[in-house]
Protein backbone atom coordinates (compact mmCIF):
# COMPACT_ATOMS: atom_id res chain seq x y z
CA UNK A 1 0.00 0.00 0.00
CA UNK A 2 1.33 3.41 -0.93
CA UNK A 3 1.90 5.85 1.90
CA UNK A 4 3.49 8.90 0.28
CA UNK A 5 4.99 11.53 2.55
CA UNK A 6 7.16 14.57 1.97
CA UNK A 7 10.02 14.39 4.42
CA UNK A 8 13.71 14.74 5.16
CA UNK A 9 16.23 11.98 4.43
CA UNK A 10 17.23 11.69 8.07
CA UNK A 11 13.61 11.27 9.09
CA UNK A 12 13.16 8.60 6.43
CA UNK A 13 16.12 6.73 7.96
CA UNK A 14 14.31 6.61 11.31
CA UNK A 15 11.09 5.52 9.58
CA UNK A 16 12.86 2.82 7.61
CA UNK A 17 14.48 1.43 10.74
CA UNK A 18 11.18 1.29 12.58
CA UNK A 19 9.44 -0.28 9.56
CA UNK A 20 12.10 -3.00 9.62
CA UNK A 21 11.36 -3.66 13.29
CA UNK A 22 14.10 -1.70 15.06
CA UNK A 23 12.92 -0.80 18.53
CA UNK A 24 16.05 0.65 20.11
CA UNK A 25 18.11 3.72 19.36
CA UNK A 26 21.06 5.01 21.35
CA UNK A 27 22.98 7.97 20.04
CA UNK A 28 24.90 11.14 20.65
CA UNK A 29 24.00 14.40 18.88
CA UNK A 30 26.15 15.41 15.93
CA UNK A 31 25.53 17.51 12.84
CA UNK A 32 24.26 16.59 10.26
CA UNK A 33 22.72 13.41 11.72
CA UNK A 34 20.83 14.71 14.75
CA UNK A 35 17.36 14.60 13.19
CA UNK A 36 17.60 10.81 13.21
CA UNK A 37 17.93 10.83 17.00
CA UNK A 38 15.22 13.47 17.32
CA UNK A 39 12.81 11.41 15.23
CA UNK A 40 13.60 8.30 17.24
CA UNK A 41 12.90 10.07 20.52
CA UNK A 42 9.52 11.01 19.06
CA UNK A 43 8.58 7.76 17.37
CA UNK A 44 10.11 4.88 19.31
CA UNK A 45 8.18 5.15 22.60
CA UNK A 46 4.94 5.09 20.60
CA UNK A 47 5.76 1.66 19.22
CA UNK A 48 7.00 0.19 22.49
CA UNK A 49 10.62 0.96 21.68
CA UNK A 50 13.36 2.78 23.54
CA UNK A 51 15.29 5.93 22.76
CA UNK A 52 18.25 6.91 24.88
CA UNK A 53 20.75 9.69 24.40
CA UNK A 54 24.05 8.38 25.67
CA UNK A 55 27.11 10.20 27.04
CA UNK A 56 29.21 9.58 23.91
CA UNK A 57 29.43 7.51 20.75
CA UNK A 58 31.20 4.59 22.43
CA UNK A 59 28.36 4.26 24.90
CA UNK A 60 25.84 4.66 22.07
CA UNK A 61 27.04 1.72 20.03
CA UNK A 62 27.73 -0.33 23.18
CA UNK A 63 24.11 0.15 24.25
CA UNK A 64 22.87 -0.76 20.77
CA UNK A 65 24.95 -3.95 20.91
CA UNK A 66 23.53 -4.72 24.35
CA UNK A 67 19.96 -4.27 23.13
CA UNK A 68 20.62 -6.52 20.16
CA UNK A 69 22.01 -9.23 22.44
CA UNK A 70 18.84 -8.95 24.49
CA UNK A 71 16.80 -9.55 21.34
CA UNK A 72 15.82 -6.02 20.29
CA UNK A 73 17.17 -4.71 16.98
CA UNK A 74 18.93 -1.43 17.52
CA UNK A 75 20.78 1.28 15.70
CA UNK A 76 22.69 4.49 16.12
CA UNK A 77 23.41 7.50 13.92
CA UNK A 78 26.39 9.78 13.73
CA UNK A 79 28.73 11.70 11.46
CA UNK A 80 32.49 11.53 10.73
CA UNK A 81 34.03 12.40 14.12
CA UNK A 82 31.48 10.27 15.97
CA UNK A 83 32.05 7.48 13.47
CA UNK A 84 35.75 7.55 14.41
CA UNK A 85 34.81 7.10 18.05
CA UNK A 86 32.56 4.16 17.18
CA UNK A 87 35.15 2.20 15.27
CA UNK A 88 36.30 0.12 18.21
CA UNK A 89 32.73 -0.98 18.83
CA UNK A 90 32.16 -1.76 15.17
CA UNK A 91 35.09 -4.16 15.52
CA UNK A 92 33.54 -5.53 18.70
CA UNK A 93 30.20 -6.12 16.98
CA UNK A 94 31.97 -7.73 14.01
CA UNK A 95 33.98 -10.04 16.19
CA UNK A 96 31.16 -10.91 18.61
CA UNK A 97 28.80 -11.13 15.59
CA UNK A 98 26.17 -8.84 17.04
CA UNK A 99 23.64 -7.54 14.48
CA UNK A 100 23.32 -3.75 14.55
CA UNK A 101 23.07 -0.78 12.20
CA UNK A 102 25.21 2.36 12.19
CA UNK A 103 23.98 5.30 10.13
CA UNK A 104 26.69 7.75 9.12
CA UNK A 105 25.59 11.09 7.70
CA UNK A 106 28.90 12.18 6.23
CA UNK A 107 30.23 15.72 6.59
CA UNK A 108 33.42 17.50 5.62
CA UNK A 109 36.53 16.14 7.31
CA UNK A 110 39.11 15.33 8.51
CA UNK A 111 38.24 15.84 12.16
CA UNK A 112 35.76 18.63 12.89
CA UNK A 113 36.17 19.74 9.27
CA UNK A 114 33.01 21.30 7.91
CA UNK A 115 30.29 20.34 10.36
CA UNK A 116 27.36 21.55 8.31
CA UNK A 117 28.67 20.69 4.85
CA UNK A 118 28.32 17.43 2.96
CA UNK A 119 31.10 15.02 2.07
CA UNK A 120 31.69 11.37 1.22
CA UNK A 121 35.03 11.09 2.93
CA UNK A 122 34.17 8.19 5.21
CA UNK A 123 33.92 5.49 2.56
CA UNK A 124 37.26 3.99 3.50
CA UNK A 125 36.66 4.58 7.19
CA UNK A 126 33.55 2.44 6.78
CA UNK A 127 35.62 -0.25 5.10
CA UNK A 128 38.74 -0.27 7.24
CA UNK A 129 38.02 1.93 10.27
CA UNK A 130 38.39 -0.72 12.94
CA UNK A 131 41.51 -2.74 13.56
CA UNK A 132 42.17 -6.11 12.01
CA UNK A 133 41.10 -7.88 8.84
CA UNK A 134 37.39 -8.22 8.21
CA UNK A 135 34.74 -7.49 5.65
CA UNK A 136 31.82 -5.15 6.12
CA UNK A 137 28.50 -4.22 4.57
CA UNK A 138 27.86 -0.55 3.76
CA UNK A 139 24.86 0.78 1.85
CA UNK A 140 24.71 4.32 0.47
CA UNK A 141 21.35 6.04 -0.18
CA UNK A 142 21.09 8.81 -2.76
CA UNK A 143 17.48 9.86 -2.19
CA UNK A 144 15.00 10.15 0.63
CA UNK A 145 13.28 7.07 -0.75
CA UNK A 146 16.54 5.16 -0.51
CA UNK A 147 17.11 6.44 3.04
CA UNK A 148 13.93 4.56 3.92
CA UNK A 149 14.56 1.48 1.79
CA UNK A 150 18.27 0.96 2.41
CA UNK A 151 18.01 1.51 6.17
CA UNK A 152 15.37 -1.21 6.29
CA UNK A 153 17.60 -3.40 4.13
CA UNK A 154 20.52 -2.75 6.47
CA UNK A 155 18.63 -4.45 9.29
CA UNK A 156 17.85 -7.37 7.01
CA UNK A 157 21.55 -7.87 6.23
CA UNK A 158 22.56 -7.26 9.86
CA UNK A 159 20.34 -10.06 11.11
CA UNK A 160 20.94 -12.40 8.19
CA UNK A 161 24.72 -12.16 8.37
CA UNK A 162 24.91 -11.40 12.11
CA UNK A 163 27.06 -8.37 11.58
CA UNK A 164 27.12 -4.59 11.95
CA UNK A 165 25.88 -2.86 8.78
CA UNK A 166 26.70 0.73 7.90
CA UNK A 167 24.30 3.09 6.16
CA UNK A 168 26.57 5.62 4.48
CA UNK A 169 24.39 8.68 4.03
CA UNK A 170 25.69 12.21 3.57
CA UNK A 171 24.88 15.79 4.47
CA UNK A 172 22.87 16.30 1.31
CA UNK A 173 20.90 13.08 1.21
CA UNK A 174 20.19 13.33 4.94
CA UNK A 175 19.05 16.93 4.89
CA UNK A 176 17.05 17.10 1.68
CA UNK A 177 13.29 16.80 1.46
CA UNK A 178 11.59 14.59 -1.10
CA UNK A 179 8.57 12.40 -1.49
CA UNK A 180 9.00 8.98 0.02
CA UNK A 181 6.69 6.01 -0.02
CA UNK A 182 6.61 4.75 3.58
CA UNK A 183 5.38 1.40 2.37
CA UNK A 184 4.88 -1.58 4.56
CA UNK A 185 7.64 -4.12 4.09
CA UNK A 186 6.77 -7.59 2.83
CA UNK A 187 7.41 -10.66 4.95
CA UNK A 188 10.47 -11.61 2.92
CA UNK A 189 11.89 -8.08 3.21
CA UNK A 190 11.77 -8.03 7.00
CA UNK A 191 14.91 -9.04 8.88
CA UNK A 192 14.88 -12.80 9.51
CA UNK A 193 13.69 -13.71 13.00
CA UNK A 194 16.23 -15.40 15.20
CA UNK A 195 14.72 -18.85 15.22
CA UNK A 196 16.61 -21.15 17.52
CA UNK A 197 15.54 -24.71 18.11
CA UNK A 198 16.94 -27.85 19.59
CA UNK A 199 18.49 -28.81 22.87
CA UNK A 200 19.99 -25.74 24.57
CA UNK A 201 22.97 -27.93 25.49
CA UNK A 202 23.77 -28.23 21.79
CA UNK A 203 23.59 -24.51 21.03
CA UNK A 204 26.83 -22.88 19.98
CA UNK A 205 27.16 -19.10 19.81
CA UNK A 206 29.55 -19.45 16.87
CA UNK A 207 30.28 -22.01 14.19
CA UNK A 208 32.59 -20.25 11.69
CA UNK A 209 30.70 -21.54 8.64
CA UNK A 210 29.94 -18.66 6.23
CA UNK A 211 26.97 -20.59 4.84
CA UNK A 212 25.50 -21.54 8.17
CA UNK A 213 25.70 -18.62 10.58
CA UNK A 214 23.94 -19.56 13.83
CA UNK A 215 21.33 -17.01 14.93
CA UNK A 216 22.32 -15.05 18.03
CA UNK A 217 20.22 -16.41 20.89
CA UNK A 218 18.84 -13.46 22.84
CA UNK A 219 19.78 -13.21 26.51
CA UNK A 220 16.99 -14.49 28.70
CA UNK A 221 16.24 -17.55 26.58
CA UNK A 222 17.15 -21.15 27.32
CA UNK A 223 20.04 -20.92 24.84
CA UNK A 224 23.08 -19.72 26.72
CA UNK A 225 25.38 -17.38 24.83
CA UNK A 226 28.90 -16.21 25.52
CA UNK A 227 29.97 -13.24 23.49
CA UNK A 228 33.57 -12.22 23.27
CA UNK A 229 35.58 -9.99 20.98
CA UNK A 230 38.72 -11.94 21.82
CA UNK A 231 39.56 -14.86 19.54
CA UNK A 232 37.07 -17.48 20.67
CA UNK A 233 35.86 -21.01 20.09
CA UNK A 234 32.34 -22.15 19.16
CA UNK A 235 31.10 -21.61 22.71
CA UNK A 236 32.48 -18.07 22.80
CA UNK A 237 35.31 -18.76 25.21
CA UNK A 238 38.73 -17.23 24.61
CA UNK A 239 40.87 -19.43 22.38
CA UNK A 240 44.09 -17.92 21.11
CA UNK A 241 45.56 -20.84 19.13
CA UNK A 242 47.15 -19.70 15.84
CA UNK A 243 44.93 -21.94 13.68
CA UNK A 244 41.85 -20.66 15.49
CA UNK A 245 42.85 -17.02 14.90
CA UNK A 246 43.30 -17.85 11.22
CA UNK A 247 39.89 -19.53 11.11
CA UNK A 248 38.13 -16.59 12.86
CA UNK A 249 39.64 -13.88 10.65
CA UNK A 250 39.04 -15.73 7.38
CA UNK A 251 35.50 -16.53 8.43
CA UNK A 252 34.69 -12.88 9.22
CA UNK A 253 35.78 -11.98 5.69
CA UNK A 254 34.21 -14.97 3.96
CA UNK A 255 30.80 -14.62 5.55
CA UNK A 256 30.36 -11.31 3.74
CA UNK A 257 32.44 -11.83 0.58
CA UNK A 258 30.93 -15.24 -0.23
CA UNK A 259 27.49 -13.64 -0.27
CA UNK A 260 28.48 -10.61 -2.32
CA UNK A 261 25.91 -11.38 -5.03
CA UNK A 262 23.05 -11.20 -2.58
CA UNK A 263 24.41 -8.14 -0.80
CA UNK A 264 25.23 -6.17 -3.94
CA UNK A 265 22.56 -3.69 -4.96
CA UNK A 266 23.14 -1.35 -7.90
CA UNK A 267 20.89 0.77 -10.10
CA UNK A 268 21.48 1.47 -13.75
CA UNK A 269 20.32 4.59 -15.58
CA UNK A 270 20.54 4.70 -19.38
CA UNK A 271 23.18 2.01 -19.29
CA UNK A 272 21.96 -0.19 -22.19
CA UNK A 273 23.93 1.58 -24.91
CA UNK A 274 26.12 3.84 -22.76
CA UNK A 275 29.73 4.36 -23.73
CA UNK A 276 30.33 7.22 -21.30
CA UNK A 277 29.62 5.72 -17.90
CA UNK A 278 29.55 7.31 -14.47
CA UNK A 279 30.00 5.12 -11.43
CA UNK A 280 28.84 6.87 -8.31
CA UNK A 281 26.88 6.59 -5.05
CA UNK A 282 25.07 8.71 -2.48
CA UNK A 283 24.51 12.38 -3.25
CA UNK A 284 27.07 12.34 -6.08
CA UNK A 285 25.02 9.71 -7.92
CA UNK A 286 22.22 12.29 -8.10
CA UNK A 287 24.59 14.83 -9.62
CA UNK A 288 25.82 12.19 -12.05
CA UNK A 289 22.24 11.40 -13.06
CA UNK A 290 21.75 15.04 -13.89
CA UNK A 291 24.89 14.92 -15.99
CA UNK A 292 23.60 11.82 -17.83
CA UNK A 293 20.34 13.58 -18.70
CA UNK A 294 22.17 16.65 -20.01
CA UNK A 295 24.66 14.60 -22.00
CA UNK A 296 21.87 12.49 -23.53
CA UNK A 297 20.14 15.71 -24.63
CA UNK A 298 23.30 16.64 -26.53
CA UNK A 299 23.52 13.20 -28.11
CA UNK A 300 26.20 11.61 -25.90
CA UNK A 301 25.46 8.01 -24.93
CA UNK A 302 25.94 8.55 -21.22
CA UNK A 303 24.85 6.23 -18.43
CA UNK A 304 25.11 5.80 -14.67
CA UNK A 305 25.87 2.79 -12.53
CA UNK A 306 24.79 3.75 -9.02
CA UNK A 307 26.26 1.70 -6.21
CA UNK A 308 23.68 1.27 -3.46
CA UNK A 309 25.99 -1.30 -1.94
CA UNK A 310 29.40 0.28 -1.52
CA UNK A 311 30.88 -2.54 0.59
CA UNK A 312 31.49 -5.29 -0.24
CA UNK A 313 32.59 -3.58 -3.44
CA UNK A 314 30.39 -4.62 -6.41
CA UNK A 315 33.32 -5.82 -8.54
CA UNK A 316 31.22 -7.80 -11.00
CA UNK A 317 28.89 -4.93 -11.89
CA UNK A 318 31.72 -2.39 -12.00
CA UNK A 319 33.83 -4.67 -14.21
CA UNK A 320 30.90 -5.08 -16.61
CA UNK A 321 30.40 -1.31 -16.77
CA UNK A 322 34.12 -0.80 -17.45
CA UNK A 323 33.90 -3.42 -20.18
CA UNK A 324 31.10 -1.73 -22.12
CA UNK A 325 32.34 1.86 -21.85
CA UNK A 326 34.89 3.96 -23.70
CA UNK A 327 35.15 6.36 -20.78
CA UNK A 328 34.30 5.78 -17.14
CA UNK A 329 34.24 8.58 -14.59
CA UNK A 330 33.78 8.41 -10.82
CA UNK A 331 32.29 11.55 -9.26
CA UNK A 332 32.47 11.58 -5.46
CA UNK A 333 32.87 14.06 -2.59
CA UNK A 334 36.34 12.87 -1.62
CA UNK A 335 39.71 12.56 -3.34
CA UNK A 336 38.96 9.28 -5.06
CA UNK A 337 38.18 6.66 -2.44
CA UNK A 338 35.85 4.63 -4.68
CA UNK A 339 37.78 5.66 -7.81
CA UNK A 340 40.68 3.54 -6.52
CA UNK A 341 38.41 0.53 -6.15
CA UNK A 342 37.09 1.03 -9.67
CA UNK A 343 40.67 1.37 -10.92
CA UNK A 344 41.50 -1.98 -9.35
CA UNK A 345 38.81 -3.57 -11.58
CA UNK A 346 39.91 -1.73 -14.73
CA UNK A 347 41.63 -3.41 -17.66
CA UNK A 348 42.38 -0.50 -19.98
CA UNK A 349 39.24 1.62 -20.16
CA UNK A 350 39.85 5.37 -19.94
CA UNK A 351 39.12 6.15 -16.30
CA UNK A 352 38.62 9.58 -14.75
CA UNK A 353 38.32 10.59 -11.12
CA UNK A 354 36.01 13.52 -10.40
CA UNK A 355 36.80 14.44 -6.82
CA UNK A 356 35.48 17.36 -4.80
CA UNK A 357 36.29 18.27 -1.20
CA UNK A 358 34.95 21.82 -0.92
CA UNK A 359 32.01 20.88 1.26
CA UNK A 360 29.70 21.48 -1.69
CA UNK A 361 27.92 19.05 -3.94
CA UNK A 362 29.09 18.31 -7.45
CA UNK A 363 26.91 19.99 -10.05
CA UNK A 364 25.98 18.07 -13.21
CA UNK A 365 27.88 20.72 -15.20
CA UNK A 366 31.06 20.20 -13.17
CA UNK A 367 30.85 16.50 -13.94
CA UNK A 368 30.32 17.17 -17.64
CA UNK A 369 33.22 19.63 -17.70
CA UNK A 370 35.47 17.07 -16.06
CA UNK A 371 35.00 14.56 -18.88
CA UNK A 372 34.72 17.03 -21.77
CA UNK A 373 38.25 16.51 -23.02
CA UNK A 374 37.73 12.78 -23.25
CA UNK A 375 34.72 13.03 -25.58
Amino acid sequence: MSNMKFMQGNEAVARGAIAAGARFFAGYPITPSSEIAEQCSLLLPKVGGTFIQMEDEMASLAAVEGASCAGVMGFTATSGPGFCIMQEHIGHALMCEIPCVIVVVQRGGPSTGLATKPAQGDVMQARWGCNGDHSIIALSPSSVEECYELTAKAFYFAEKYRTPVIVLSDGITGKMYENVNLRELGEDELPPKREIAGDPADYRTYNFDPDNIPPLAPFGTAWQTHLSSAMHNELGYSFGAPENADRCVRYLTDKIEKHIDEITMTRSYEMEDADVVFISYGCSARSARGAVEKLRESGVKAGLLQLQTVWPFPKKEVTAALGQAKVVAVPELNLGQIFQEVAACNKGTKLISIPKVKGELLTPQEIIDAIKEEM
Binding site: E55, A63, G220, T225, H226, A230
Partner: protein, 271 residues
Amino acid sequence: MYTYNDYIKEEKLPHIWCAGCGNGIVLNALLHALADMQIPPEEVVIVTGSGCLARLVTYPNTSTIKMLHGRVLAGATGIKLANPNLKVFCLMGDGDGATIGGNHLIHCARRNIDVTAIICNNFNYGMTGGQYSATTPYGAITTTSRYGLVEENFNMAELVKACGAPYVARCSATDVLNLRKYIIEATQKKGFGFIEVLSACVTHYGKNNKMGDAPNMMRQIDSMCVPAARAKNMTEEELAGKYITGKLVDRNDLIDFGTSYQRLREEVTAK
Protein backbone atom coordinates in the same frame (compact mmCIF):
# COMPACT_ATOMS: atom_id res chain seq x y z
CA MET B 1 15.42 -24.98 43.96
CA TYR B 2 18.72 -23.69 42.57
CA THR B 3 21.96 -24.29 44.39
CA TYR B 4 25.42 -22.75 43.97
CA ASN B 5 26.32 -25.63 41.66
CA ASP B 6 23.64 -24.54 39.17
CA TYR B 7 25.50 -21.27 38.62
CA ILE B 8 29.07 -22.47 38.25
CA LYS B 9 30.78 -24.40 35.50
CA GLU B 10 32.98 -26.52 37.69
CA GLU B 11 34.70 -28.09 34.72
CA LYS B 12 36.22 -24.67 33.99
CA LEU B 13 38.02 -24.55 37.34
CA PRO B 14 40.66 -23.90 38.57
CA HIS B 15 40.38 -20.24 37.65
CA ILE B 16 43.22 -18.28 36.09
CA TRP B 17 43.74 -15.68 38.82
CA CYS B 18 46.89 -15.42 40.93
CA ALA B 19 47.04 -16.94 44.40
CA GLY B 20 45.79 -14.33 46.87
CA CYS B 21 43.77 -12.35 44.30
CA GLY B 22 40.32 -11.20 45.44
CA ASN B 23 38.60 -11.94 42.14
CA GLY B 24 37.77 -15.54 43.04
CA ILE B 25 36.15 -14.33 46.26
CA VAL B 26 33.98 -11.91 44.28
CA LEU B 27 32.94 -14.67 41.85
CA ASN B 28 32.10 -16.95 44.74
CA ALA B 29 30.05 -14.28 46.51
CA LEU B 30 28.18 -13.42 43.33
CA LEU B 31 27.20 -17.00 42.53
CA HIS B 32 26.17 -17.67 46.14
CA ALA B 33 24.07 -14.50 46.05
CA LEU B 34 22.37 -15.71 42.85
CA ALA B 35 21.52 -18.98 44.57
CA ASP B 36 20.28 -17.11 47.65
CA MET B 37 17.96 -15.07 45.43
CA GLN B 38 16.89 -18.14 43.40
CA ILE B 39 17.25 -16.26 40.12
CA PRO B 40 16.92 -18.74 37.23
CA PRO B 41 20.34 -18.90 35.52
CA GLU B 42 18.82 -18.11 32.10
CA GLU B 43 17.56 -14.76 33.44
CA VAL B 44 21.07 -13.71 34.45
CA VAL B 45 23.48 -11.84 32.20
CA ILE B 46 27.01 -11.23 33.37
CA VAL B 47 28.78 -8.35 31.66
CA THR B 48 32.49 -7.70 31.92
CA GLY B 49 35.07 -5.70 29.99
CA SER B 50 38.83 -6.11 29.96
CA GLY B 51 41.35 -6.91 32.63
CA CYS B 52 41.79 -9.69 35.16
CA LEU B 53 38.25 -9.63 36.52
CA ALA B 54 36.82 -9.62 32.99
CA ARG B 55 38.03 -13.21 32.64
CA LEU B 56 35.29 -14.09 35.12
CA VAL B 57 32.93 -14.79 32.19
CA THR B 58 34.45 -18.26 31.81
CA TYR B 59 33.02 -19.65 35.02
CA PRO B 60 29.31 -18.84 35.51
CA ASN B 61 26.63 -21.07 34.04
CA THR B 62 24.78 -18.05 32.64
CA SER B 63 24.90 -15.99 29.48
CA THR B 64 27.85 -13.63 29.43
CA ILE B 65 29.28 -10.85 27.30
CA LYS B 66 32.67 -9.24 27.35
CA MET B 67 32.19 -5.64 26.30
CA LEU B 68 35.08 -3.48 25.24
CA HIS B 69 37.42 -2.13 27.90
CA GLY B 70 35.48 0.45 29.90
CA ARG B 71 32.13 -0.01 28.15
CA VAL B 72 30.62 -2.52 30.55
CA LEU B 73 27.93 -0.24 31.93
CA ALA B 74 27.07 1.22 28.51
CA GLY B 75 26.48 -2.27 27.14
CA ALA B 76 24.56 -3.25 30.25
CA THR B 77 22.31 -0.20 29.78
CA GLY B 78 21.21 -1.50 26.38
CA ILE B 79 20.70 -5.04 27.68
CA LYS B 80 18.56 -3.96 30.62
CA LEU B 81 16.44 -1.46 28.67
CA ALA B 82 15.80 -3.99 25.89
CA ASN B 83 14.70 -6.70 28.32
CA PRO B 84 13.85 -5.44 31.81
CA ASN B 85 13.23 -9.00 33.01
CA LEU B 86 16.94 -9.77 32.87
CA LYS B 87 19.14 -9.50 35.94
CA VAL B 88 22.25 -7.77 34.73
CA PHE B 89 25.51 -7.97 36.70
CA CYS B 90 28.41 -5.76 35.70
CA LEU B 91 31.78 -6.94 36.95
CA MET B 92 34.62 -4.49 36.56
CA GLY B 93 38.05 -3.74 37.86
CA ASP B 94 39.09 -0.22 38.82
CA GLY B 95 40.61 0.32 35.38
CA ASP B 96 37.51 -0.82 33.53
CA GLY B 97 34.95 0.72 35.87
CA ALA B 98 36.49 3.90 37.22
CA THR B 99 39.26 4.89 34.81
CA ILE B 100 38.64 4.24 31.11
CA GLY B 101 34.97 3.64 31.93
CA GLY B 102 34.57 6.43 34.50
CA ASN B 103 32.28 8.45 32.27
CA HIS B 104 29.85 5.55 31.89
CA LEU B 105 29.96 4.91 35.64
CA ILE B 106 28.77 8.40 36.52
CA HIS B 107 26.12 8.47 33.79
CA CYS B 108 24.80 5.00 34.56
CA ALA B 109 24.47 6.01 38.21
CA ARG B 110 22.88 9.35 37.28
CA ARG B 111 20.39 7.70 34.93
CA ASN B 112 19.70 5.11 37.59
CA ILE B 113 19.82 2.09 35.31
CA ASP B 114 18.55 -1.00 37.13
CA VAL B 115 21.70 -3.10 37.04
CA THR B 116 24.10 -4.35 39.70
CA ALA B 117 27.63 -2.97 39.33
CA ILE B 118 30.55 -4.46 41.22
CA ILE B 119 33.95 -2.83 40.97
CA CYS B 120 36.75 -4.92 42.32
CA ASN B 121 39.28 -2.25 43.28
CA ASN B 122 42.80 -3.66 43.46
CA PHE B 123 44.39 -0.22 43.06
CA ASN B 124 46.15 -0.95 39.79
CA TYR B 125 46.01 -2.52 36.33
CA GLY B 126 46.85 -6.13 37.07
CA MET B 127 46.47 -7.69 33.65
CA THR B 128 48.85 -5.29 31.92
CA GLY B 129 51.52 -5.50 34.59
CA GLY B 130 50.69 -3.19 37.50
CA GLN B 131 50.27 0.32 36.10
CA TYR B 132 48.39 2.97 38.08
CA SER B 133 44.65 3.56 37.73
CA ALA B 134 42.24 6.26 38.88
CA THR B 135 41.95 4.50 42.24
CA THR B 136 45.66 4.08 42.98
CA PRO B 137 46.42 6.05 46.18
CA TYR B 138 48.65 9.13 46.09
CA GLY B 139 52.30 8.22 46.48
CA ALA B 140 51.88 4.55 45.59
CA ILE B 141 54.52 2.78 43.53
CA THR B 142 53.30 1.18 40.32
CA THR B 143 55.09 0.24 37.10
CA THR B 144 54.11 3.64 35.66
CA SER B 145 54.71 5.59 38.87
CA ARG B 146 58.14 4.34 39.84
CA TYR B 147 58.84 7.38 42.03
CA GLY B 148 55.42 7.44 43.64
CA LEU B 149 52.10 8.54 42.16
CA VAL B 150 51.48 12.29 41.97
CA GLU B 151 47.73 12.03 41.23
CA GLU B 152 44.87 11.92 43.71
CA ASN B 153 42.52 8.97 43.39
CA PHE B 154 38.77 8.71 43.07
CA ASN B 155 36.68 7.86 46.06
CA MET B 156 34.42 5.65 43.95
CA ALA B 157 31.68 5.05 46.48
CA GLU B 158 31.36 8.81 47.15
CA LEU B 159 31.46 9.52 43.42
CA VAL B 160 28.62 7.12 42.67
CA LYS B 161 26.68 8.42 45.67
CA ALA B 162 27.04 12.00 44.40
CA CYS B 163 25.67 10.86 41.02
CA GLY B 164 22.45 9.83 42.69
CA ALA B 165 22.68 6.05 42.88
CA PRO B 166 20.06 4.54 45.20
CA TYR B 167 22.35 1.83 46.57
CA VAL B 168 26.05 2.03 47.38
CA ALA B 169 28.11 -0.32 49.53
CA ARG B 170 31.80 -0.91 50.06
CA CYS B 171 33.69 -3.73 51.71
CA SER B 172 36.96 -5.58 51.72
CA ALA B 173 37.18 -8.81 49.74
CA THR B 174 37.81 -10.57 53.05
CA ASP B 175 34.34 -9.56 54.23
CA VAL B 176 32.74 -12.38 52.24
CA LEU B 177 29.40 -12.67 53.99
CA ASN B 178 28.71 -8.94 53.87
CA LEU B 179 29.74 -8.86 50.22
CA ARG B 180 27.17 -11.57 49.46
CA LYS B 181 24.54 -9.60 51.40
CA TYR B 182 25.38 -6.36 49.58
CA ILE B 183 25.10 -8.10 46.20
CA ILE B 184 21.63 -9.32 47.13
CA GLU B 185 20.53 -5.89 48.36
CA ALA B 186 21.97 -4.12 45.32
CA THR B 187 20.18 -6.57 43.01
CA GLN B 188 16.87 -6.26 44.79
CA LYS B 189 17.07 -2.49 44.74
CA LYS B 190 15.10 -1.16 41.77
CA GLY B 191 17.80 1.04 40.27
CA PHE B 192 21.57 1.29 40.11
CA GLY B 193 23.17 -0.88 42.77
CA PHE B 194 26.89 -0.28 43.29
CA ILE B 195 29.42 -2.20 45.33
CA GLU B 196 33.11 -1.40 45.63
CA VAL B 197 35.20 -4.34 46.76
CA LEU B 198 38.70 -3.57 48.04
CA SER B 199 40.90 -6.34 46.80
CA ALA B 200 44.51 -7.51 46.82
CA CYS B 201 46.73 -7.63 43.74
CA VAL B 202 49.57 -9.51 45.36
CA THR B 203 51.48 -9.97 42.13
CA HIS B 204 51.82 -6.30 41.23
CA TYR B 205 50.46 -3.70 43.65
CA GLY B 206 51.41 -5.68 46.72
CA LYS B 207 54.87 -6.45 45.45
CA ASN B 208 55.55 -2.88 44.27
CA ASN B 209 54.42 -1.40 47.59
CA LYS B 210 56.07 -4.02 49.81
CA MET B 211 52.78 -5.21 51.27
CA GLY B 212 53.99 -8.76 51.80
CA ASP B 213 52.27 -12.02 50.91
CA ALA B 214 48.54 -12.45 50.32
CA PRO B 215 47.42 -12.77 53.97
CA ASN B 216 49.57 -9.79 54.96
CA MET B 217 48.27 -7.71 52.11
CA MET B 218 44.66 -8.54 52.94
CA ARG B 219 45.28 -7.62 56.57
CA GLN B 220 46.68 -4.28 55.45
CA ILE B 221 43.65 -3.63 53.25
CA ASP B 222 41.38 -4.55 56.15
CA SER B 223 43.26 -2.11 58.36
CA MET B 224 42.42 0.67 55.86
CA CYS B 225 38.68 -0.08 56.25
CA VAL B 226 36.61 1.85 58.74
CA PRO B 227 32.96 0.85 59.24
CA ALA B 228 30.60 3.75 58.49
CA ALA B 229 29.25 3.84 62.04
CA ARG B 230 32.74 4.29 63.48
CA ALA B 231 33.79 6.80 60.82
CA LYS B 232 31.04 9.17 61.96
CA ASN B 233 33.03 9.93 65.10
CA MET B 234 36.38 10.32 63.38
CA THR B 235 38.09 13.48 62.16
CA GLU B 236 39.16 14.10 58.57
CA GLU B 237 42.80 13.59 59.56
CA GLU B 238 41.99 10.29 61.20
CA LEU B 239 40.15 9.19 58.04
CA ALA B 240 42.96 10.13 55.66
CA GLY B 241 43.91 7.09 53.58
CA LYS B 242 41.01 5.09 55.02
CA TYR B 243 38.04 3.56 53.20
CA ILE B 244 34.64 3.87 54.82
CA THR B 245 32.90 0.54 54.51
CA GLY B 246 29.40 -0.83 54.87
CA LYS B 247 26.11 0.13 53.31
CA LEU B 248 26.66 3.78 52.41
CA VAL B 249 23.49 4.61 50.47
CA ASP B 250 20.11 2.91 50.54
CA ARG B 251 17.40 5.14 49.07
CA ASN B 252 13.87 4.34 48.00
CA ASP B 253 12.88 7.80 46.75
CA LEU B 254 14.41 7.49 43.28
CA ILE B 255 12.81 6.17 40.08
CA ASP B 256 14.99 4.11 37.77
CA PHE B 257 15.26 4.95 34.07
CA GLY B 258 13.38 1.88 32.89
CA THR B 259 10.36 2.62 35.07
CA SER B 260 10.32 6.29 34.03
CA TYR B 261 10.59 5.38 30.38
CA GLN B 262 7.79 2.81 30.62
CA ARG B 263 5.56 5.54 32.10
CA LEU B 264 6.49 7.81 29.20
CA ARG B 265 5.64 5.03 26.72
CA GLU B 266 2.24 4.53 28.31
CA GLU B 267 1.53 8.27 28.31
CA VAL B 268 2.44 8.85 24.66
CA THR B 269 0.60 5.74 23.52
CA ALA B 270 -2.57 6.76 25.38
CA LYS B 271 -2.63 10.16 23.65
